[in-house]
C-alpha cells in the first residue's frame, strides 16, 4: 500500500517558486488543497454527492456504448433499463473482483429513489425526463466529447491512435453491418458515407472508455464518504492517499468497447489490446476535463480576430481547475448540470454548512460548485503524487538529487497553474466560496 508520508525531510533548501508553499506541501506528502477540517468536510461531502449521479453516468454510458449503439433515433437513450441498473459494479458488492466500496454492486439506493420521484413527486418517467427532473446525463456526454475532441492531441496513451487503425475499422465495420443487417437504407447510407458511421463508432468507444473510468471512481468516492463518517480520515492528505492507493490498485483495469447486437457480442476494442485504465482513461480524463475542456457557450464572448480562444489546443484552460464557477449565465452548460445533480445528493452536514455562508440556500449551487473545484484539486494532487511515485522517487528518499528531481516534477506541474485563470491561489483561502 502506498503511503505518501506527511512528515518533512528537509534535505534540500526551500523552494522560492511562486507556489513554494504548495510545493513544500506536496513534498511532505500533502495535497494542493490545504489540510484543514473544513476542507476535509467539504471535499468528502461533495465526493459523496458526486458519486451517486456518477453511478448513473457510468451505467448509462455503457448502455449507450453497448446497446443503443448506432440507433439513428436514440430518443430514449437516457432511459436506463433495469438490466443496467442491476449491472454489478465490479468494485462493489460481494462478487467484486476488487471490492473498493462496502456497499452493494447494483445501483445506489438514493439514485433509485431519485429516479422514481425526482425532486417533485412520482410521475411517469417521460414527465421527469422532459421537465429535466432527472440526472443530467448531458454532463457525462459533454465530458465524453471533451475527451474525444482532445483525443490524441493530449499525447497520452494509445487508445485514440487505435481508433484509426485498420483492425479497429474492421471490427467497427463488422458491428455496423450486423447492427443494420435488416435495414437496407442504413446499409446504403453506410456505403455512401462510411467515415460518418465510423466516426460515430469512435465516439461510442469513448462512451465506453468514460463509463469504465467512472465505474471505478463511483465506489472510490462512496467508500471515502463512509470512511469519513466513521472518522477514518485524519486530514486532507489521508483522503488524497486513499485516492493514490485506489489509482494504483485499479491502474491495470482493461479499457475496451464491446457492443451487444442481437445475441452476439462484438469486440470493437477488445480487452486483449491491453489498454489500461490509468493510461487510457484516467490520465486523458484528467487532462481533458480538469485542464482543457472547451469554452462553454454563453459564458464568454469570443472574438476570433482578437484571438481570445487559443489556436493551440494544448493552451486550452477551461477545465474545472480553471473554471470561474460563478458564471454569468446559470442553467444549461455542463458544469451547472453537474451542480444541479450534486445538489440532490448533498449529505446533511454539508447542507447545514452551506446555510451558514454567503446567501445560504439561495446560492448553494455556487458554494457546492466551488467545493467541487477544491475536491478536484485534491484528486489532481493524488494523480500528481501517483505519477511521482510511479516515475520518480519516494518522498523520503535520502538522496538529495532524487528529491530535487521530485521538486522539478512538482514545479513543472505547478507551471500550469501560473496563469491568472487558475484557481490554485483561490483554494488556499478558506473564504473562497
Amino acid at each position: 500500500m502506498v503511503q505518501t508520508t506527511t512528515q518533512s525531510f528537509p534535505k534540500i533548501s526551500p523552494s522560492n517558486h511562486e507556489f513554494a508553499d504548495v510545493i513544500h506541501r506536496l513534498e511532505a506528502g500533502g495535497s494542493m488543497l490545504p489540510d484543514t477540517p473544513e476542507n476535509l468536510k467539504q471535499i468528502i461531502g461533495i465526493y459523496k454527492a458526486y458519486a451517486v449521479p456518477m453511478d448513473f453516468y457510468w451505467r448509462n454510458l455503457l448502455y449507450i456504448a453497448e446497446r443503443v449503439f448506432l440507433n439513428p433515433l436514440p430518443f430514449f437513450k437516457y432511459f436506463l433499463p433495469q438490466q443496467y441498473l442491476d449491472l454489478h459494479n465490479r468494485y462493489a458488492g460481494d462478487d467484486a473482483e476488487l471490492r473498493i466500496w462496502r456497499g452493494e454492486a447494483t445501483a445506489h439506493p438514493e439514485l433509485l429513489e431519485f429516479m422514481e420521484k425526482g425532486k417533485t413527486f412520482k410521475a411517469p418517467k417521460l414527465f421527469h425526463h422532459l421537465g429535466h427532473d432527472r440526472i443530467n446525463m448531458e454532463f457525462a456526454e459533454a465530458c465524453m466529447r471533451a475527451m474525444f475532441w482532445h483525443g490524441r492531441n493530449m499525447g497520452l496513451g494509445q487508445f485514440d491512435a487505435y481508433l484509426d487503425s485498420e483492425e479497429y475499422k474492421a471490427n467497427a465495420d463488422r458491428a455496423i453491418r450486423a447492427y443494420f443487417k435488416n435495414n437496407p437504407a442504413m446499409l446504403g447510407l453506410y456505403r455512401l458515407f462510411p467515415e460518418m458511421f465510423l466516426e460515430q463508432v469512435r465516439q461510442l468507444s469513448y462512451y465506453s472508455n468514460l463509463g469504465l473510468f467512472w465505474e471505478v471512481m463511483a465506489p472510490v468516492f462512496l467508500e471515502m464518504s463512509d470512511i469519513y463518517d466513521e472518522g477514518g480520515f485524519k486530514g486532507v492528505p489521508d483522503a488524497m492517499n486513499f485516492l493514490v492507493n485506489g489509482i494504483f490498485a485499479v491502474a491495470g483495469r482493461p479499457i475496451y468497447h464491446h457492443a451487444y447486437i442481437g445475441d452476439e457480442c462484438y469486440e470493437i476494442v477488445p480487452k486483449s489490446k491491453g489498454f489500461m485504465w490509468l493510461y487510457e482513461a484516467a490520465l486523458p480524463y484528467v487532462e481533458a476535463i480538469f485542464y482543457r475542456t472547451t469554452p462553454f457557450r454563453g459564458t464568454k464572448s469570443y472574438n476570433a480576430q482578437a484571438q481570445q480562444v487559443p489556436d493551440d489546443q494544448k493552451d486550452f484552460h477551461y477545465g474545472i481547475l480553471y473554471a470561474d464557477v460563478f458564471p454569468v449565465g446559470t442553467a444549461g452548460i455542463p458544469p451547472t448540470l453537474l451542480m444541479d445533480d450534486m445538489y440532490h445528493f448533498l449529505p446533511d452536514y454539508l447542507q447545514q454548512y452551506y446555510q451558514k455562508y454567503c446567501r445560504g440556500e439561495d446560492d448553494v449551487l455556487i458554494q457546492l460548485g466551488i467545493t467541487f473545484q477544491r475536491s478536484m484539486y485534491n484528486v489532481n494532487s493524488a494523480v500528481i503524487q501517483a505519477l511521482r511515485e510511479a516515475l520518480l522517487y519516494p518522498l523520503d528518499d535520502p538522496n538529495p538529487k532524487h528529491l530535487m528531481a521530485n521538486r522539478q516534477f512538482f514545479k513543472a506541474q505547478m507551471a500550469r497553474f501560473k496563469r491568472p485563470e487558475a484557481r490554485l491561489r483561490d483554494i488556499q483561502q478558506q473564504d473562497y466560496r
Binding site: 470561474d324 464557477v325 460563478f326 454569468v328 446559470t330 454567503c358 446567501r359 439561495d362 446560492d363 449551487l365 455556487i366 483561490d426 473564504d431 473562497y432 466560496r433
Partner: protein, 232 residues
Amino acid sequence: MVAPGLVIIGTVSVVYGALSAIAQKDIKRMVAYSSIGHMGYILVAAAAGTDISILGAVAQMISHGLILALLFYLVGIVERKVGTRELNVLNGLMNPIRGLPLISALLILGGMASAGIPGLIGFAAEFIIFQGSFSTFPIPTMLCIFASGLTAVYFVILLNRTCFGKLDNQLSYYPKVVWAEKIPALVLTVTIFFLGVQPNWLLRWIEPTTNFLAASQPDRVVLHQPSKLDKR
C-alpha cells in the same frame, strides 16, 4: 424681465446638470446632478407662466419627488450592501444569485422614469412642461428637450456599469436585501408606474389651482380648453 432671466437660469440648470451627471464616477453624485437638472424644468415651466406649463411644473415637482426618492434610496441600498458607490468598481449587480437583482431592476425603472420614458410619471410631467413652455420660450424648451435626451445617456452609463456585466465572485459576498428594505422601493415604483399610466389621477387634483395661478398672472396665455373641473 424676470421670466426670461428665470428661464435662462432654468435652462442652464438643466443642461449643466445633465452634462455634469455624465462626467460623474460616483453614482450618488450622478443622481444628485440629475436632480439639479430636473429642478431646472420646473423653473423653465414656472417662468413660461402658461396654464399648461404651470400644471407641468407642479406635476414635475411630484414626479421628481417620487423618482429621485426612489433613485437615492436604491443608491443607498447599493452602497450599504456593496460598500462602494464607485462606477469603476460596481459591476454585474443584476446577477440573480449573488447580486442585487430586484434593486437593479428597480434602478432601471427609476432611470427610465427619470429619462421620461412613456408609461411612467416622468414622461407625463416633462411632456406637459415642454408643451406648455414651447409657445413662450421655444429655444429654451428645445434645449430642455435635448437635455432630456442626455438623461438617457448618463442613466445608460450608470445602469450599464452597475447592473450589467459580470459580477466578480472575489468581491461578491454581499448581504441579502431583506423585505423591509425592498418594500419602500416597491411602493415608490408602483406609484411611479401607476401615475405614469394614469397621469390624470394626479393632474385632476392640481389643475384647478394651477389654472387659478395662471389666470391671476397679467398678460397670461391661455393654451387649454376649459375642463369639466372648471365648471364645478
